[in-house]
Subunit: 172 residues, 2 copies
């Protein structure tokens, strides 16, 4: 399998960041993913958990399901996944189950990441598939999009609390 150049890696991670932006724009935690086959994006996904009220709809899952439909196969051999954040157990498991050979991710997730942070599931040779992992692709941008989102959420919560307190004072 051909190695991607640094320029290609950054191009596809930018596409994943664009997906993350779509999630952030509708108030979802901004995480995005794309799947690449022969240099072409064949699956895109962004986190839709809150809008869909569906626990499964993480960026990686949506991208894998679109790629499965495009290739008419559950096997995503010869594909690369690009995702802005280190995958959680569900998504790392989905990468194993779909036989994706290469993963490129942006920022680490110390709380739930299992591709280096809490576990190394993708290189465990007891499973029937192992994944070549590349991390810190546009890590600064991938981290910042999340930090900005949570900063905004905290500011909104603070403003809501302040407004509620002002209302209480007025009512008293």
């Amino acid at each position: 399998m051909q190695e991607l150049t640094i320029e290609e890696q950054q191009k596809f991670m930018r596409a994943a960041l664009k997906e993350a932006g779509k999630a952030g724009a509708i108030g979802e935690v901004p995480i995005g993913a794309v799947i690449v086959h022969d240099g072409e994006i064949i699956g895109r996904g962004f986190n839709l958990r809150e809008h869909a009220q569906d626990a499964i709809m993480h960026a990686e899952i949506m991208a894998i399901q679109e790629a499965n439909r495009r290739l008419k196969s559950w096997r995503l051999e010869d594909c690369q996944m690009f995702v802005t954040l280190e995958p959680c157990p569900m998504c790392a498991g989905a990468i194993i189950n779909s036989r994706i050979p290469q993963l490129y991710f942006g920022a680490r997730d110390p709380k739930a990441g299992v591709v280096g942070s809490l576990y190394n599931l993708l290189t465990d040779e007891r499973f029937n598939h192992q994944v070549e992992v590349h991390e810190r692709i546009l890590a600064k941008e991938a981290g910042e999009i999340l930090q900005q989102f949570f900063r905004k959420i905290r500011a909104q919560q603070k403003a809501r609390k302040k407004a509620a307190k002002a209302q209480q004072t007025k009512d008293a």
Copy 2:
């Protein structure tokens, strides 16, 4: 949360085995799952990977997505999952992500199970949710449905090889 009686546990595992049978009947590896809420089944699923050519469509995922739709919530608090086989990383991760508090499973999966066999993901306190696990519920039945399936597959493969060899001898 109320503990289920042995009779209730077996009743719901029988419902999961029925789902597994639906998979086996169409040539899929027979694994089935149900999700229970207030003593009622609100989600059912069976393995559909080959028919759908979709790597995500494991029994547990299908059951979680149906339960999410029924409760109009990604959070499956106060629910129990029953599944015939020990979950893989993807499905164990989905159980964490959907906040299911109790899991009952049938047979262990020494090759890919992460709820006792290769890992203990569901009781790892570093994740933001832990699951109470009960195993070996109707384990004999849960194991047998898989063994019968793979025995049948091997017999079919053997018959095909024999037929191909007979054809070669005839052609020679």
